[in-house]
């Protein structure tokens, strides 16, 4: 209640009620913010929960039985290792190893790795989440004792340097995401190279040159609608245009590049498809940024006898570049997480060689994650979680680069 006496009639201030109504809305807004933050936190926690934890590993053959005269397997000399390998694998397999690379040329470590993979054959028989590993140790030991008495237990960080630097593998323990990281970087680079110049150019045309007539209004409406088209449709478009119709170009055959296996399902097809997908976003965001440049600046430039292009180049673009780059950041974030159109365009589900150029076959991080999550074995869930962390880190570092670029541009003004 007011500390003053009522001074005029006709007004019924109801101060308390007005403030109260404000407080209610504040609580509502706070609640929606909280919901958002909680959901994000849960998401992150789930991923981290899966990316670390204890695993139980069972070996086909106990390494201890391979020890000779009290010398552990790891300490055996080369010849003894070759002999061990020969004793424990089929003759055919041994000959294939010899054929792939003569044993004379293999180092001791390589032979040891062969023994580990094909003789000892460690398998993950059970794994626990980070939460269980930290707080439910007794449950884990009980399960171990009951179900996996012969297993070896260790704490596994699914995401580590090895995971990032090794290529795809059928064995979850060995698999990495290097191929997928390079695939993602290649496709994103091509998508940006295509959509940024084209999108900004279109935005400049629509904002600075196009007159307000029916044709241009139809074009504008269509661009706005294209931004909302489901991404799978862009996948179909990419399949029809880049993979099929432009196959000689997208497979590199037109440039004398002969890798028959890709058939146009290449990095460049995927990159251009993603480029098309984000093109409307780039155009719309750039248009917003250009529109935000005050007309007084344009007037000033024209008033001095500048041509349209001089006005755009010297004043409109430098003042819009911050907004344009913000839009590009959003667009790239969208593109890097896209899965559906790349499935349609034909991302490889299993390749172990890094893309070597725009005409290579490719896979990307989201494709890899999708593949792994659909595997029946539990252990792939863990490496999928690890790959998600890699994807998020990649996304954040690309965004950070764009933010730094943006800040440098805006400081120059």
């Amino acid at each position: 209640m007011s500390v003053f006496d009522s001074d005029v009639k006709d007004f019924e201030p109801k101060l308390e009620q007005r403030h109260q109504r404000g407080s209610i809305w504040r609580v509502v807004f706070l609640a929606s913010t909280t919901v958002g933050i909680v959901v994000l936190a849960v998401l992150l926690l789930t991923i981290i929960n899966d990316a670390f934890g204890y695993v139980a590993i069972e070996n086909e053959i106990d390494p201890e039985t391979l020890a000779q005269e009290g010398v552990l397997l790891e300490d055996l000399p080369r010849e003894a290792l070759i002999a061990t390998l020969q004793e424990n694998v089929s003759e055919g397999l041994f000959r294939r190893f010899e054929h792939d690379k003569p044993f004379g040329a293999r180092t001791r470590e390589e032979i040891l790795a062969l023994i580990r993979d094909d003789v000892i054959e460690p398998r993950v028989v059970a794994q626990w989440t980070l939460f269980e590993s930290l707080f439910r140790r007794d449950m884990i030991s009980q399960e171990l004792a009951e179900d996996y008495p012969n297993s070896e237990v260790r704490f596994e960080r699914w995401i580590d340097l090895d995971f990032v630097t090794t290529p795809q593998s059928a064995d979850a323990m060995e698999a990495g995401v290097r191929t997928a990281i390079f695939g993602s970087l290649w496709t994103i680079a091509i998508a940006i190279l295509f959509s940024f110049p084209v999108g900004v150019g279109a935005a400049i045309y629509l904002e600075e040159y196009a007159v307000d007539n029916v044709v241009n209004r139809v074009i504008q409406t269509n661009i706005n609608n294209l931004a909302g088209v489901p991404s799978i449709i862009y996948g179909m478009l990419g399949l029809a245009i880049f993979v099929r119709a432009l196959q000689p170009i997208s497979s590199g055959a037109a440039f004398g590049y002969n890798e028959a296996t890709a058939n146009g399902r290449t990095v460049v097809s995927a990159g251009l498809t993603l480029g098309l997908l984000i093109l409307p976003l780039v155009i719309i965001n750039s248009q917003e940024a250009i529109r935000a440049v005050p007309n007084s600046l344009r007037s000033a430039a024209y008033g001095l006898g500048a041509t349209r292009w001089q006005t755009v180049w010297h004043h409109v673009l430098p003042n819009a570049i911050t907004g344009i780059l913000t839009g590009a950041i959003l667009a790239v974030s969208r593109a890097i997480g896209e899965t559906a159109p790349l499935v349609v365009v034909g991302a490889s589900t299993y390749i172990t060689s890094d893309p070597s150029g725009p005409f290579s076959k490719f896979t990307t991080l989201p494709i890899q994650i999708y593949q792994w999550t659909t595997r029946p074995q539990d252990v792939f869930r863990n490496i999928a979680a690890a790959a998600i962390i890699v994807l998020l880190v990649l996304l954040l570092s690309l965004n950070a680069t764009a933010v730094i670029l943006r800040n440098r541009f805006s400081k120059r003004l």
Binding site: D212, P294, N295, S296, L297, R298, S299, A300, A301, Y302, G303, L304, G305, A306, T307, Q310, H314, H315, N319, L413
Partner: protein
């Protein structure tokens, strides 16, 4: 209309001349049948109530109307004997030779030096740029205040200084005419007086046309005054009276002018 009728402008008496000028915004007639001859090296004020087409008139001189709104212009504007609306005239050239200062100071978000130099540079100025910047800032009565900070942003200046920077920028392209659209309306009284003094000084070299809302200002700075008003029938702006300022403010020909000047309407 033949070129023979433009003999008056070719003999150098008038800086610019409007003949039967009409400006439409889409279908709306904003300005009708204006005939106006602007005297060389004089300050001409354009006054009138809101919406009477003062700014439209001003922008018709250097073809700024066509830039942002759906405007089209009929009639003729003779500048050095040439109709600026003739199809072979490049408006870009017209705008260099007829400079413009706007209502709200609008320096570029660049250094003070660059603000002055830019217009000259894009128009292919070949002389010494440092000298030009110095000369223009001196002419705009800004040099002493900014000589130690030419590298600072033009936006760091006060409103009045910004407007003088805009004037310096305009004279850097060596125009013959300077159009000013209410150049002091966003400024405080002291900054306004400085701009007015500057206009008087600049009139020795340039022809100045200034739109103003402020009758006292028109009386103080101008040699000639054009009074525009709105036609009650079609809401179009029209020229009511054009006379030397002294006569206009003491003994106007037209009754409407007198009513407006004495504050009875508008």
């Amino acid at each position: 209309m033949s070129h023979g009728q433009t003999s008056t402008s070719q003999n150098g008496k008038y800086a610019i001349e409007a003949e039967d000028l009409k400006v439409y915004y889409d279908d709306f007639l904003a300005l009708k049948n204006v005939n106006l001859q602007i005297q060389r090296n004089r300050v001409t004020a354009i006054i009138g109530p809101s919406g009477c087409g003062k700014s439209t008139m001003l922008r018709a001189f250097n073809r700024m109307n066509e830039l942002f709104r759906n405007a089209h212009t009929e009639g003729k504007v003779y500048f050095n004997g040439v109709n600026v609306y003739q199809s072979d005239v490049d408006p870009v050239e017209i705008r260099r030779r007829i400079g413009m200062v706007f209502q709200k100071p609008n320096p570029f978000p660049k250094s003070i030096y660059e603000n002055v130099a830019w217009g000259a540079r894009i128009n292919g100025y070949k002389g010494n740029m440092d000298n030009l910047v110095h000369e223009c800032l001196v002419q705009a009565a800004l040099w002493d205040e900014v000589k130690d900070k030419l590298g600072q942003s033009g936006l760091s200046l006060s409103g009045g200084q910004q407007q003088r920077l805009c004037i310096a920028r305009t004279i850097a392209t060596k125009p013959e005419i300077i159009l000013m659209d209410e150049p002091a309306s966003a400024l405080d009284p002291i900054a306004t007086l400085r701009i007015e003094d500057l206009m008087r000084d600049l009139a020795e070299q340039y022809t100045i046309i200034v739109v103003t809302h402020n009758m006292q200002q028109a009386g103080r700075v101008s040699d000639f005054t054009a009074f525009f008003s709105i036609d009650e029938d079609d809401r179009a702006g029209m020229l009511i009276e054009y006379n030397p300022t002294k006569k206009m403010f003491s003994n106007p020909d037209n009754e409407i002018t007198e009513d407006y000047i004495t504050g009875r309407f508008g």
